[in-house]
Symmetry: none
Subunit: 121 residues, 4 copies
Amino acid sequence: MFIIDLHSRTPVYEQIKEQVINLVNTGELKPDDKLMSLRQLSGELHLNINTVKRAFSDLEAEKIVYSAPGRGIFISETALDNTIVKNNATAELKRIALSAKQKGVKKEDMIKLVNEIFGEE
Amino acid sequence: MFIIDLHSRTPVYEQIKEQVINLVNTGELKPDDKLMSLRQLSGELHLNINTVKRAFSDLEAEKIVYSAPGRGIFISETALDNTIVKNNATAELKRIALSAKQKGVKKEDMIKLVNEIFGEE
Amino acid sequence: MFIIDLHSRTPVYEQIKEQVINLVNTGELKPDDKLMSLRQLSGELHLNINTVKRAFSDLEAEKIVYSAPGRGIFISETALDNTIVKNNATAELKRIALSAKQKGVKKEDMIKLVNEIFGEE
Amino acid sequence: MFIIDLHSRTPVYEQIKEQVINLVNTGELKPDDKLMSLRQLSGELHLNINTVKRAFSDLEAEKIVYSAPGRGIFISETALDNTIVKNNATAELKRIALSAKQKGVKKEDMIKLVNEIFGEE
DNA sequence: GTGGTCTAGACCACC
DNA sequence: GTGGTCTAGACCACG
């Protein structure tokens, strides 16, 4: 289901959030779809339940999901309005790219990198 | 000399490292130039000396500077064609770019972003 | 686990680093193996936690280990074909060998010494 | 005259000592030869006079030179009995080579390095 | 619980 | 004076 990279510097709960948002963006999850239980998810991903909880409480605060105590967690109707996520991703990418430029990484290397990423499909 | 933002998310010692690397890349610091003493810098920046030390011991590990106990810290001859810093920066950029791709950022957007960053060279 | 000689001229954190690298080279530690926690190690070795931290942040910079905040420190996948440590060691060896040559040590003595060290492989 | 490597980890005063001993070993300096004045040497090498003083007071303690206040510093008659220096150099080389082996440097690389050093003449 | 950052201050060798 | 090592303890984010 989800792919978690324990090596990554980005916190595990952020990775979960990202992937839920992804599934919404690609249409695999639609408003009012029910998600796996926290316990089930934490079991499958071999993660502490608190980590998963943290991800979904964040998503709830961002109105991507809503939780119905005793019934489960569902995708909210407003989940699709997130150009925010994409914009954030672009903004972060820009920040990192600028810092890389500052450290001496050349334009051609960056272009090559982008081609690499989109060629690996 | 250096500008430190104590409220930034990036650690103070990283800010120092970045600014030294910058001064090297812009040519303001050249190989064998002597840097301010740790005590002087920590005084001017109102930072603990150990924080400044951390920055420079990192820079030494990355071969940007070399330190000569009793004499001071100097820019190394290999500071410009630095590989370590550039490789790390490229690796980080790739990670972030992959994650951005996953979030729906398109190839053309990334190419545009790179062009933006490098002006119209 | 580790043996630390507080009276040695080589810094304690270097001793820790060396022993970790050794355990990797002998195969006792493999990629993704989890190491003892900093607190546990510093307790067992009767060292301040910061000294142990220093060792592992060095090892992380050299890509021998990776650290995952909140989870622990792990042997990295690239720990074995490590280039950074080997390159640094070779560079140091060259410096010392050159200085020994200058002091009158002959080529044949050096070859003999190398053979000695590696037994008769 | 002397070549000082400010990058080296070995203290400057040790480098001066080594080179004086070298000149004795190669026969360029003979017993009762007069050396340059401390002031002159420190000027030519761009070193603090205290550093040069330290080197020569060490050499005097080791009976390699003797100083005649007001007249200068001279090579002593016993200067030539130093297998000690060579043995120390070999011992240090062995230590470093062992540590390099532990870090994964291969025998063939060391042999290559020795050939390099003695081929550069 | 884990590791990461920062401060504070001791002591050392070297210049 | 310089940088290097080590100890001690605070506070943070993450699991």
